[in-house]
Symmetry: C2
Subunit: 428 residues, 2 copies
């Protein structure tokens, strides 16, 4: 049988995993697809660097075009990262009739629509399961498993670095700065951690999840993102005392045809299944009108988990090649995107206020909430003797985001509120 | 566009859900598959019975053959249950070139191989996602999501009734008999609960999961099944004290090419993700060589969750009809089945023994474990004044099942062991 030839762009951690799985599981793969799968060419930055796996020298190249334009290569597997230059490679590969499997969340979040359209026009497959939540097959679950349902909510712990940091802060009472330093030493966080800790990485993944879940072209600009760098030990202590964990959640919601997508540190009730997802693990919670609550849990990153998703995509592409049905994939948006305004985005909120410790303060503060029609679920006032002030913790009932912003603006000019220490969305 | 015509066999709870979703989500479905999906005929037991959903009288029939032999019906959806008679209907439908979607775990566990072969021969699809774990799309996850990996272990809470009973016993300290009665009153348990509580229902589902996960034709007879009717309040109390929950787990394992599949009440460490799956929820934990630990959680039964899976299968069949690629599905076993012997099945065990309360007893008991090379992780002896005897709790290290059986046989003839009160497999 004619082998299927693969060109691999990138031989870092994930690329190495792809080679290991394709070569190590060759018999199993061949039993499933009916043909050998051969890695024909590999793009590397330096051919002379020593590798943890044996690769023939003549398979390696430092010239991407040698792979993109290789007449015998059927499928491109892109694990090199980068956006603009990589997009150029992928678009040309599709134009040349090559199918593409990619793990590149940045690329798909920023240029997914253009790439999907190009693929369709050239009857090519473009699959990207590994771009979100590593080894968890969440994209095919949304597209195929829940094809019959209307998904109303997707909540994801989709960034392992921040979940590792928050888990350590919660379990050990450590500070953000200390845990970040430790995560960097262990290789769980980059030396420049901005993309992870400021929620940008999670926002890119939520763009992809919301697009597939809601069948509408959600763009990265539609996602409001807030990271974890301002989360304090104190916030986590208060959260735990009230029965919550602090998690960086991506939240995509749909009501009728109105969508909102955001990423923010969120207080999640400890009884909610996503609250106990700890360490570098990822999980995606999906609520559908018919199916109700579901959750999918697994490794969000790492050489082999991510490579598992890539090679599963490769198997799907090869099966389509055999059946002659490439370029017919679902997951293309067929609904008009309508975003919620801040008035339409509703959730519970937690607020921690530092206030003057004297009579009448609580009445004035609760009046502000009443003025903007925010009703309160619980209020706790306690003195903080160390600063001769009181602290007030408020958990609201469902309130719209615009009203909460007006409440916060009013506190600015209210002399008894010395400081709004923390504001969190609340779930579960 | 020519509509796709569906014949529905059965209009009980799940059948009603299928009608609701197909009719309620018609626009979404049509956007995905490009054709209307029409429920053409529905098999009912009594045409004159009143229904919770409006169905044209002329769509209903009491004659299954009118649907099976209907010239215009493309897809049969079988939600009537039953085995031998239903198998006859499905085989004839396949012979007539009709595709089949079924929720029938009994049928697929007992006759899956024959039905899959018939479908392939007639180039028809046969899909059965709803047969295991209701709304959780676990079958397509095993077949597609993990196509590139080697699955080494599948552990499932795949029976909602028993998980509800064990959860209540754990959370409220109630007895098995009391909770079973309550579950029957609530409609969570059948009036004859044997199939659920004796682990037979779970065994059927594990047969399907193991066949797909390990690519070998596992038969129902290969699954050893033990139910929960002998689980006591006392067992659960001991388990919790030691940091475990008691769960009815289906466990399918593979080492090299050797397989074992079993269902039994199991002590699961509280830190394991499957230990916190409570109530009627289902979960399937999958360990793969490359992907590591994953878990999939959701509703295991119910009108709409189960119907979600059935209609997702229907969407997949219709897409294949459009592409002209029916009957090419994966999931057919390509590996020879080799079952482990009891000597090769290894796990930790918990034993609770009632023993004579005098000197030297512990030495004699631990000597029996040593005789059969079972090493012990922990031993706890305590007096039970109410019966003037002592109790010994033993947790072993990994031991093979044959050795544990020999230990238990030896205790029979050991005068100081008055009773082996409980034996549990231990996981996590």
């Amino acid at each position: 049988m004619k082998p299927i030839k693969v060109g691999l762009l990138g031989l870092g951690t994930v690329g190495t995993g792809v080679v290991r799985i394709v070569e190590g599981h060759q018999d199993d793969l061949q039993s499933q697809v009916g043909s050998p799968i051969v890695i024909e060419k590999v793009l590397v930055q330096n051919k002379n660097k020593s590798r943890s796996i044996p690769i023939d020298a003549d398979k390696m190249t430092e010239d991407p075009w040698e792979i993109i334009r290789h007449p015998e290569i059927d499928v491109i597997v892109e694990v090199m990262g980068g956006v603009e230059q990589t997009k150029e490679y992928i678009l040309e590969a599709l134009e040349r009739g090559k199918h593409v499997v990619t793990a590149n969340k940045d690329l798909m979040a920023m240029h997914g629509t253009e790439i999907l359209e190009k693929a369709k026009r050239h009857q090519c497959d473009i699959l990207y399961e590994a771009s979100v939540a590593g080894g968890i097959p969440i994209l095919r679950t949304l597209v195929e498993g829940f094809s019959s349902d209307r998904i109303t909510k997707i909540m994801g712990i989709v960034n392992g670095t921040t979940n590792y940091i928050l888990t350590k802060m919660s379990q050990e009472g450590a500070s953000y700065a200390d845990v970040l330093k430790e995560a960097q030493d262990l290789g769980y966080a980059e030396s420049d951690p901005t993309s992870d800790v400021e929620g940008l990485d999670a926002a890119r993944k939520m763009t992809i999840l919301a697009t597939l879940g809601f069948h509408a072209n959600v763009a990265l600009e539609d996602v409001s993102a807030q990271g974890i760098s301002s989360v304090t030990k104190e916030d986590i202590t208060y959260a735990k005392r009230l029965g919550y964990e602090v998690k960086l959640l991506g939240i995509a919601e749909r009501q009728d045809d109105l969508i909102s997508v955001s990423v923010q540190p969120t207080m999640v009730k400890q009884s909610h299944p996503i609250a106990s997802v700890n360490g570098v693990f990822n999980a995606v919670y999906v609520h559908g009108e018919a199916v109700g609550e579901t959750m999918f849990y697994g490794a969000g990153a790492g050489e082999l988990p991510t490579a598992t998703s890539i090679v599963a995509d490769l198997v799907a592409v090869v099966k389509n090649i055999k059946l002659g049905v490439n370029g017919k994939q679902s997951g293309v948006a067929y609904k008009e995107k309508k975003l919620k305004t801040d008035e339409q985005i509703s959730s519970k909120y937690f607020l921690l206020l530092q206030v003057a410790d004297r009579a009448g303060v609580l009445a004035r503060i609760t009046q502000v909430f009443a003025d903007f029609e925010v009703s309160l679920e619980s209020v706790l006032q306690q003195p903080n003797p160390s600063i001769a002030q009181a602290e007030i913790i408020v958990i609201t009932h469902d309130a719209n985001k615009a009203a909460i912003q007006k409440v916060l603006a009013s506190f600015e000019s209210l002399d008894v509120v010395h400081k709004v220490k923390s504001v969190y969305r609340v779930e579960g």
